[in-house]
Structure formats: structure tokens, C-alpha cells
């Protein structure tokens, strides 16, 4: 092996310290190290998340009582648009893949980096550029965008807000997403450790693999659609503008061809995280490894055929409506399989209830509510009643925040010791978890009730009969925010002052735990070779790490 000049250091020191030639801020901004890039994503996303969360709190505040409370309808419309654009395009779509995919995937595969490290850095810059363009829309033009994150034509064509900037931002962010996806697919195909066949990959890798394919195949469709919206605004090309012969329903088709599969981009990696967290805390292998792996791919494929359930009331043909309804129910099956397998993993296990497992269980509970309420949206007659109501908002937050968001928090608490080499305060983390779970349900469950009562979404004002659930929901938003802030403060403090983390604090079996915490720049002192499946606990006591088992 040709050793690099920094070679010996690259295999022993911490990636956080950097080689002496690359220190300080430039050492981060020019790095091609997947771990450092992951942390840069984490930092950027953390900021965007807090901005999005603040806007969300302001929205809830306005909706606490009927009538105008603090600001008018125009501001409200801008707020829910920004909340959607920031949370979807800047936080939850790139979320787990960009942060934990980047950090963990090469480690789990036993590789030194992703397949294209420079492209990886480029993805981050493209992401930041897209974010900058999207946020430019706040100041460019007469007023911020007010279309909602879906940019439905013809409203988005006629709106006086600076929609074009927001749309262009989403377009550029799509590129970042595509680049990351390509990078991961090639990494998985080419850089698996010796002996690691596809069916010996950890399930998080499977989740990312399915996700990456969706990113590569679906994103370009929305890319061209968004470009056409900008062209429509600039030149009046009339492809979506009914007054010029275009069809607004076609816009919705093209938008959802991407935007439905993309909810699987958000959720599949989170499902992978949960599948990886359960085994170490249960001290046993996951139940039904193959079924979980294959169901990820099945969800990705079937997910392309279900977008029409967002459009049951737009005037699609009745035939298309029932076909999409049928296909939507099919996608529920592999999702159910995962939940049953996770539950079965606890059977005859040896369970140690620590923070990552708490988050994983929280995920299963909240995502189950999200998934089950999704059945209401899959069935034709019931969806027609709840479509475009607060029910959808509740359902969406249960799947995306309760699913992808809590999955991200779970990943954060699971891999934190590996990423920063320090432990966090588990007591505070448990309290934060409790607040988040209570706040979450107080915030979003009333929305389900409101929707069934007939409360439409994106309403700045509402009739008096909807007041009580709205009030409860707003109180919930304060509890949730308290929990999240407590969690963030705990993690930031621990990243600097926490006690040193052992290499394998949870007694996990996947490859990232065989290297030091934090890992060296080149990930492994010696590159690993794989001889068993990813969750092989044979010959090991539950909770015991690799080294302890060996000694």
C-alpha cells in the first residue's frame, strides 16, 4: 500500500483535528473528507431547522385564536410557504442522507471515503448555493413567495411574490440531491468491504441505496417542471397557464411524480436508522433482515406509482383515481412489514432502554400513527373529505417529523459518540425525549381531529367551532419546542465537554463501531474484512463491545 505523507496520522488521529497542513476554517471548507462534509451539512441544516421551527411556532401562535392575532393574512401565507420550503427542501430531504449517510455509509461499508469525495464537497456547495437562492426570495421582488411549497400553477404564475427565486432555489437544491444520490449508489456498488455482499450490508445502507435511486431518477422531473414555471413567469409559455391553453393539472402530475417519491427519500433512511439501532439495544440480530432490505426497494419502486392520491379532487378521470388508490394501498404493505419486523426484534431480546432506543420506539409509535392515518388518504371517499384539511397537515407531520425527523434525532443520539468522540448526558436526553413525545402529540393530534371536523389547511383565520383543538395544538408547539431546544443544548454542550466515548458504547456490531471514536481521517487503522451478516451477536454478551468480546 502506498502510504500518503499524512498516512500514519490519517490512520490514528481524529478526523476532527485535521492534519497540520489543513487547520482552521479553510480546513473545513476545502475538505473532501466525508465525515467533515457531514458535519458541515449538520451545522447548516441545524440553522435552517431552527429558522423553520421558529416560523412554525409563529404560525401556531397566530392560529391559537380565531381572527387576526399578531399579523395579517399576507404574512401568514409567506410564513407557511417559507416553513414548507425550508423544512422540506433544506432540512428533511437532504437531512439523514447528507448528514448521516455521508458520515456513516463509508464507515459501515468499511471504506475510506465515498466514491467521489470531491463531488461530495461540491454537493455541499451546491446545497448552500440553493439555500442562498431560496432565501434571496425573501428580499428580491416586491414580497416574499406566498404559494406554499407546492408552487401550484396558475397561482404560482400569477402571484406577485418573488416565486421565481424560491423555485430556482429548489431547482439548485435538486442538483445537490442528485449528486449525493449518485455518489452513494457508486459507493455502495464499488466500495463495500471485502466479503460484504449486498445482503451483508447494514440496513441503513439499504435504506440509503433505495433513497439514492429515487433521488437520481425522480429529481430531474421536478427540475424541468420548476424551470418551466420560471419560464412561464418570464415568457408566458403557456404550458401550465389555462388562459394560454395549458393545463394546471399537468403541473400537479409532474410535481407529484417527484414529490411523492421524495417522501420516501425522507423516510427510507430513517427506517434504516431504526433498523440499525434496534439490534445493539436488544442484544440480538434483527428479525427478518432480508424482508426489511427488500421492502425498502419495494417501497422505492411502488412509490413511483402512487402520486395521484395527492390529486383525488382536482378533476382527474375517475379511472385514474381508483388506479392510484389501489397502488397507494400496495405501498402500505412493505411499510407494515417493516413495523412488524421491528416489533418482532424485541421478542426474546435482552433490552437495554437507552436514549437511542427511546427515540427508535418513539419513531415506531409516531410513524405508525402517520402511516395508519395515511390509509385514510389512500381510500377514495375518505380522502376526498380530508384532502387539503388540517388532517393532511397532521398526517404529514406524523410521517415526516414523527418519522424522518425523529429518525434523525435517533440517528443523532445513536451515532453522536462516534461522530464527536464524546458521550452526551443521558438523563437530560431522556427528559428532552419525553418533552418531545408529549409536545409532538399535543401539537399534531388535534390537527387530525380538526381535519375530520372540516378545518381546511392554509387558513389564516377560522370559524369558532375549530377553536379548542387549535388552542391545544398551539400549547403543544411550546412543549415540543422546549424539548427540542433542551435536546440541542444538551448535544452541543456534550460535543465539547461530554466524557470521552468508548469506541463501541452500545455494543453494536456494524463496522463503524470497530474503529476509534471519533474515527481517524482514513476511517480504519486497517481495512476490515467481513465474514458474517451485519448483526451477528454470536459469542458476545449483550452490551459488550468488540474488544471486550475478544478479550
Amino acid at each position: 500500500m502506498t502510504e500518503s505523507p499524512a498516512g500514519s496520522w490519517g490512520r490514528t488521529g481524529s478526523y476532527l483535528d485535521g492534519p497540520s497542513s489543513r487547520t482552521g476554517l479553510m480546513g473545513w471548507l476545502t475538505t473532501t473528507d466525508h465525515k467533515r462534509i457531514a458535519l458541515m451539512y449538520l451545522a447548516a441544516m441545524g440553522v435552517f431547522f431552527l429558522v423553520g421551527m421558529t416560523i412554525g411556532l409563529l404560525i401556531r401562535l397566530e392560529l391559537m385564536q380565531p381572527g387576526e392575532q399578531f399579523y395579517g393574512a399576507k404574512t401568514y401565507n409567506t410564513f407557511f410557504t417559507l416553513h414548507g420550503v425550508i423544512m422540506i427542501f433544506l432540512f428533511i430531504v437532504p437531512g439523514i442522507p447528507a448528514v448521516f449517510g455521508n458520515f456513516i455509509l463509508p464507515l459501515q461499508l468499511g471504506a475510506e471515503d465515498v466514491a467521489f469525495p470531491k463531488l461530495n464537497l461540491l454537493s455541499w456547495y451546491v446545497y448552500m448555493a440553493g439555500a442562498a437562492i431560496a432565501l434571496t426570495s425573501l428580499y428580491a421582488g416586491d414580497s416574499p413567495p406566498d404559494t406554499g411549497w407546492t408552487f401550484y400553477a396558475p397561482y404560482s404564475i400569477n402571484s406577485g411574490g418573488s416565486v421565481s427565486w424560491a423555485v430556482l432555489g429548489a431547482f439548485v437544491l435538486g442538483f445537490s440531491s442528485i449528486l449525493t444520490g449518485m455518489n452513494f449508489i457508486v459507493t455502495i456498488h464499488r466500495l463495500r468491504a471485502k466479503g460484504m455482499g449486498f445482503f451483508r450490508m447494514p440496513l441503513f445502507c439499504w435504506g440509503l441505496y433505495a433513497t439514492s435511486w429515487i433521488q437520481v431518477i425522480a429529481t430531474p422531473v421536478v427540475g424541468i417542471t420548476l424551470v418551466l414555471v420560471v419560464m412561464e413567469r418570464l415568457l408566458g409559455i403557456g404550458l401550465f397557464d389555462p388562459s394560454l391553453g395549458g393545463d394546471p393539472i399537468l403541473y400537479q402530475h409532474l410535481f407529484w411524480i417527484y414529490s411523492h417519491p421524495v417522501v420516501y427519500v425522507m423516510i427510507l433512511p430513517a427506517m434504516g436508522v431504526i433498523s440499525d439501532i434496534l439490534p445493539p439495544f436488544c442484544g440480538r440480530t434483527i428479525f427478518g433482515y432480508r424482508a426489511i432490505a427488500i421492502s425498502s426497494m419495494a417501497i422505492a419502486v411502488v412509490g413511483y406509482g402512487v402520486w395521484g392520491h395527492h390529486m383525488f379532487t382536482v378533476g382527474m378521470s375517475d379511472t385514474a383515481r381508483w388506479v392510484f388508490s389501489l397502488l397507494t394501498f400496495l405501498v402500505a404493505i412493505p411499510t407494515g412489514v417493516k413495523i412488524f419486523n421491528w416489533t418482532a426484534t424485541l421478542y426474546r431480546a435482552s433490552i437495554e432502554l437507552r436514549v437511542p432506543l427511546l427515540y427508535a420506539l418513539g419513531f415506531i409509535f409516531l410513524f405508525s400513527i402517520g402511516g395508519l392515518t395515511g390509509l385514510v388518504n389512500g381510500a377514495l371517499s375518505t380522502d376526498i373529505h380530508v384532502h387539503d384539511t388540517a388532517f393532511i397537515v397532521g398526517h404529514f407531520h406524523y410521517t415526516m417529523f414523527g418519522g424522518a425527523g425523529i429518525g434523525l434525532f435517533a440517528a443523532l443520539h445513536f451515532w453522536f459518540p462516534k461522530m464527536f468522540g464524546r458521550m452526551y448526558n443521558e438523563k437530560i436526553a431522556t427528559w428532552a425525549w419525553g418533552l418531545i413525545m408529549v409536545g409532538f402529540n399535543t401539537l399534531y393530534f388535534p390537527m387530525l381531529v380538526l381535519g375530520i371536523m372540516g378545518m381546511p389547511r392554509r387558513y389564516h383565520d377560522y370559524l369558532p367551532q375549530f377553536q379548542v383543538p387549535h388552542f391545544i395544538s398551539t400549547v403543544g408547539s411550546w412543549i415540543l419546542a422546549t424539548g427540542i431546544i433542551l435536546m440541542i443544548v444538551n448535544l452541543i454542550r456534550s460535543a465539547r465537554k461530554g466524557r470521552k466515548a468508548p469506541n463501541n458504547p452500545w455494543g453494536a456490531t456494524t463496522l463503524e463501531w470497530t474503529t476509534t471514536s471519533p474515527p481517524p481521517l482514513l476511517n480504519f487503522a486497517t481495512l476490515p474484512e467481513v465474514k458474517t451478516g451485519p448483526y451477528d451477536f454470536s459469542g458476545r454478551k449483550p452490551g459488550q463491545s468488540h474488544e471486550e468480546g475478544a478479550s
Binding site: M1, L109, G110, A111, E112, H189, R190, L191, R192, A193, K194, M196, G197, I217, V221, I249, L250, H253, I257, V301, Y304, G305, W307, G308, M316, S317, D318, T319, A320, V323, F324, T514, T526, L527, P528, E529, H546, A550
Partner: protein, 107 residues
Amino acid sequence: MESTTTLSAEYAHEDHEESHVVPDRTQFNVYVILILLTAATVFASVKFPGPIGIGTALVVTPVKGTLIAMFFMHLKYEKPVFVIMFLVALAILALVMGLTILDYLHR
């Protein structure tokens, strides 16, 4: 502890394989066929506008595309994994296009 330092060896033994060089004559033949197919399509659509012209284009164009993909783009000589990925991408495009058309056909 594992002791080897081998990285990603699953495909490693194939890495040194020489790229397949396709004879220029083959490529030239493909080119001639492509030109002839183009001529046929143009002829059919000019002479028989309507179903025959459209039908010819519908059949011939994908054939031309396949020829380019197989020979010019070397898919014929690549590992099956490339062909499979290519077909998956096309199948998904066909799926979403088909479902969209389904809506409009039944309006």
C-alpha cells in the same frame, strides 16, 4: 480483529480488464443502418402522413435509440448491471408516463 487491508475487493479482480475495443467496421455499419432507418422514417411520414407514417416512426425510432445505446454507447459490451440499471430507469419513465396518460385517456 480483522487483519487484512484490502479495500472493496469484490470487483477488484475485474478492474484491470482492458476496455473492449469495438472494430471500426462494426460502428460504421451501425451508422449506415441508422441513416437508412432515418431515411425510411422520413419517407414513410412524408409519403403516408397519418397512421402509417406515425406507426413507422413509433417502431423505428426506438430501434435507432437501441442501436445507439448498444453499439455507440457500448452497452452491448458492458456488464449486465449497466443494462439492468438502464432498463430500470426507462421502465420507471414508462410507468410514470403511462399513469399520467391513463388519467387523460379516461377524462
